[in-house]
């Protein structure tokens, strides 16, 4: 068979390419470290997120399927968050001394003492009140350690383009019950998307978060984190986990 000159060049090119080592995939663990370091270095920052919870997870629970979240952080101990969903607006303030939770729609609020850093706040809230503020983990001083403590491994999945059109590294973070996929911006090393999959539930429902408007030099003052009750606001108790557990022992548990 007679090969033309151009075909010969093509064959030679393919042979050469096959002999070259394949381009190594980026180091997923290193990307996670870079993201963590970048956020840890920001003293005052803010970002937004759109969250979508698969319907099967919210059905019958009076939970919002879609929510828009805004988080503002001033290290080491101030954090404020807003959540807006259909028919419900809620705020969260922690100023290093007190924590206030506000149901803006119903004009209810609760304030409890919380003299701690952001790291301490996440741990103490979880331990005492059984919840953590949404996305607060992204304000921890060492996100890498937190994520690595939860994920069984870290692997590189490839590149993707987020809703804002930015190129992202896709990292796989498998867990025992949930698997997470974290998208980190190629150019800015910031979180762009998080998809968690409850892998053992029928249909493998997901919770998706799209991050946007990162500002790592946000101009914040103490006022951003100070809660002042609005006119007519009603103060309500914040029930601790221990109190509810005691009530659960004496009453039947319902599904409400």
């Amino acid at each position: 068979m007679k090969l033309t000159h151009s075909k010969s060049l093509l064959v030679l090119g393919l042979l050469a390419a096959s002999l070259l080592p394949a381009a190594a995939a980026p180091d997923a663990d290193q990307l996670l470290r870079q993201m963590s370091a970048k956020l840890a270095a920001a003293r005052s920052f803010s970002f937004e997120a759109n969250r979508k919870i698969d319907l099967v997870l919210v059905k019958g629970l009076n939970l919002p399927e879609n929510a828009h979240l805004v988080l503002t952080v001033l290290r080491p101990n101030k954090i404020a968050a807003e959540s807006t969903s259909k028919g419900e607006v809620r705020h969260f303030y922690a100023d290093g001394q007190n924590l206030s939770l506000v149901d803006v729609t119903k004009n209810l609020y609760a304030t409890v003492p919380m003299h701690t850093s952001i790291d301490g706040l996440v741990a103490e809230l979880d331990q005492k009140y059984g919840f953590t503020p949404a996305l607060a983990e992204l304000a921890l001083s060492d996100i890498y350690q937190d994520i690595r403590g939860k994920a069984q491994s870290v692997a590189y999945l490839g590149e993707g383009t987020d809703s804002g059109g930015s190129a992202c590294h896709r990292l796989a973070l498998p867990g025992k019950i949930m698997d997470a996929e974290l998208w980190v911006g190629v150019s800015d090393q910031l979180p762009k998307r998080l998809i968690t999959t409850l892998k053992h539930r029928p249909g493998k429902p997901q919770i998706k978060l799209d991050f946007s408007n990162w500002n790592l030099a946000a101009k914040t003052t103490d006022n951003n984190f100070a809660f002042v009750p609005s006119k007519g606001a009603v103060k309500v108790p914040m029930i601790a986990t221990a109190e509810m557990e005691a009530a659960q022992k004496t009453n039947n548990v319902t599904q409400n």
Partner: protein, 116 residues
Amino acid sequence: MKSFLLHQLSWNSFRKNVTILFAATTLLLASNEAFGWVAAGGGGRGFAVAGRGYGCAGVGRYGAVGFRGGLPAGYYGTIPGAYRAVVYGGYNCYYSGGVYYRPAFYQGNTVYIVVR
């Protein structure tokens, strides 16, 4: 006849026990899976970055969706839409359908405790 009755009694008792066991197992699974607590991730922790709290309950530190452990009788995650705000027993309450509900926060969400 006596032997037959004993057999029936024993069989009925067995069936009752199996039914109770089945019901208990279903309840346990329901409380763990259907609406609540799901231990997740390494060391029983989940991806809290999805977050829960201030009313946007998603996946919490333990992967919880909804109220971890459920709510005791007399506690509700929601109340009937047609309510009015009243003061009852010294508390700010909501009155609906002949019932007074006192609002509170639990696991970052608004819950309602039946006062009367």
